[in-house]
């Protein structure tokens, strides 16, 4: 599986979906438009400065609040390669897998990584390397069933296979 590399953007605990994408922008589901407002109420400069490959690193309960899939979609569309958090809210966790946004649960990484650190993520092994500080962290393993969804390329492709719409 691929390795991801980028700078870390640090956020705190309980980052809610209104912070990730405020409801005033939910009158569209266009990923490019959502991306322009990603994290706006937490850091208004984020969407303008984030670079492709960058990584969001946050504390406990990332993505709490609403079920809006616009939240992981906005993060993915603004070029963020993965989200690392101490823990995730459950609907956000499902949504991220379903749309193919890689997420990793690692309290150590959430504590060790600082704003702007250069981070490398090996999704296959769940290893997170902090290139700036020379540290390595382990992420919680992804349940095998979730791995199947990722391997299929998201939930929709997984369902298509189940229904015999695609060759396996």
């Amino acid at each position: 599986m691929e390795k991801l590399r980028g700078r870390a953007w640090k956020f705190g605990h309980d980052i809610d979906t209104d912070m990730i994408i405020p409801a005033r922008y939910l009158n569209t589901s266009d990923p490019a438009e959502l991306a322009r407002h990603c994290m706006e109420d937490a850091d208004p400069s984020f969407a303008g400065r984030v670079q492709p490959g960058d990584v969001i690193v946050a504390g406990r309960n990332f993505g709490c609040g609403s079920s809006r899939e616009h939240a992981p979609l906005a993060i993915k569309a603004c070029g963020v390669s993965c989200v690392i958090a101490a823990s995730f809210a459950r609907i956000f966790y499902r949504n991220a897998f379903n749309i193919g946004l890689p997420i990793l649960e690692s309290p150590e990484a959430a504590a060790g990584i600082r704003q702007g650190d250069e981070v490398e993520v090996d999704l296959g092994s769940g290893t997170i390397t902090n290139l700036t500080r020379g540290e390595q962290y382990r992420a919680a393993p992804v349940p095998p069933f979730m791995q199947e969804i990722i391997a299929a390329g998201g939930l929709i492709n997984y369902v298509r296979r189940r229904l015999g719409k695609d060759e396996v």
């Binding site: 209104d18 309960n61 609403s66 369902v159 229904l163």
Partner: protein, 420 residues
Amino acid sequence: MSMTITEKILAAHAGLERVEPGQLVNVRVDLVLGNDITAPMAIQEFRRIGVERVFDPERVVLVPDHFVPNKDIKSAEQAKVVREFAREQGLTHYYEVGRMGIEHCLLPEQGLVAPGELIIGADSHTCTYGALGAFATGVGSTDLAAAMALGEIWLKVPPTIKFVYHGQLPPWVGGKDLILYTIGKIGVDGARYKAMEFTGPVIEGMSMDGRLTMANMAVEAGAKNGIVPPDGVTLRYIEGRVKRPYRLYHSDPDARYEEVYEFDVSGLEPQVAFPHSPANVRPISEVGLVEIHQAVIGSCTNGRLEDLREAARVLKGKKVHPYVRLIVIPGTQEIYRAALREGLIEIFLEAGAAVSTPTCGPCLGGHMGILAAGERCIATTNRNFVGRMGHPESEVYLSGPAVAAASAVLGRIAAPWEVQ
């Protein structure tokens, strides 16, 4: 082996004798739900799956409620996508403006959810239906798309935390205060991935409207579902509404709980959640002077008839403070009409409130009461996150209907007994 009510409902829908916390199960769904924000994305994904028809046109419910009546052109386009899909698929349960309601007020009222059923909805407050002794949880749009096609979904069986409420609720203290108090105790991730089972004599004595308010906010503690054991109150509520067979499940006496919390609520005061977290809760006596610019009474949390009655009891013969806008939003058309018949709407209008057609509107900062920078609102809604009701520098305080009504009269957050 013994099981909780949540485990029993999941086992029954998975076709298994028993399930255990942590187990992944594929379950049959009795009902799936989407709204004008989540359904358009789900419909797009549904088309990608490549099936022609939803699994059952009587079990897919679409309720445009968030940005309706359409607040702008983009919202109108989204609502149109939902409307056209409902017609194309011949859905029995599509609810148009003028005949609709806020989804989580509407579905129980219309008898679309019943005890023992398994409901998923692309809206986080789908957990509301646990008040009827059902398993209900929120998911995203892609999960909704898959469930619309398959009539099934995979779920992880959650461990259960049991909450037992003892004592006697004091006057002006209700379901909203109880759930805010509980979230204040366990935090916004205190029940993350878990089931919250609400039990005890206080719950047994609580009306269905109060129970719906409590189960509604389970997600605010991170829970997968909130659930109340079905009883006489449940049966009286569904009588005449639910016309299909249903099943009552109860936790076994020796069911395993991850934790058990016992609360004596006899001395409980009305609760207020300060910005910007539903867990940032204080009793009304410790609120201090907080001047407000707006009060909102409504939403899927507190937009039911009993909530409006409670607000009207405070507002009768009173005037809304000259510096305050009071917005009252009945949860459904039926609630609106009942409030009209009972004279509640007249009380609100006489007090100087604006009364709106049912909509989620201001709760999520959509429309019908957006806040400017520096403005403060007391609301009977469910979230007070940064920017939730408008400008990121505005503030939302959460309470029950009585406190919101009293605050509207006095221009500051106040207890109902201060208005006399």
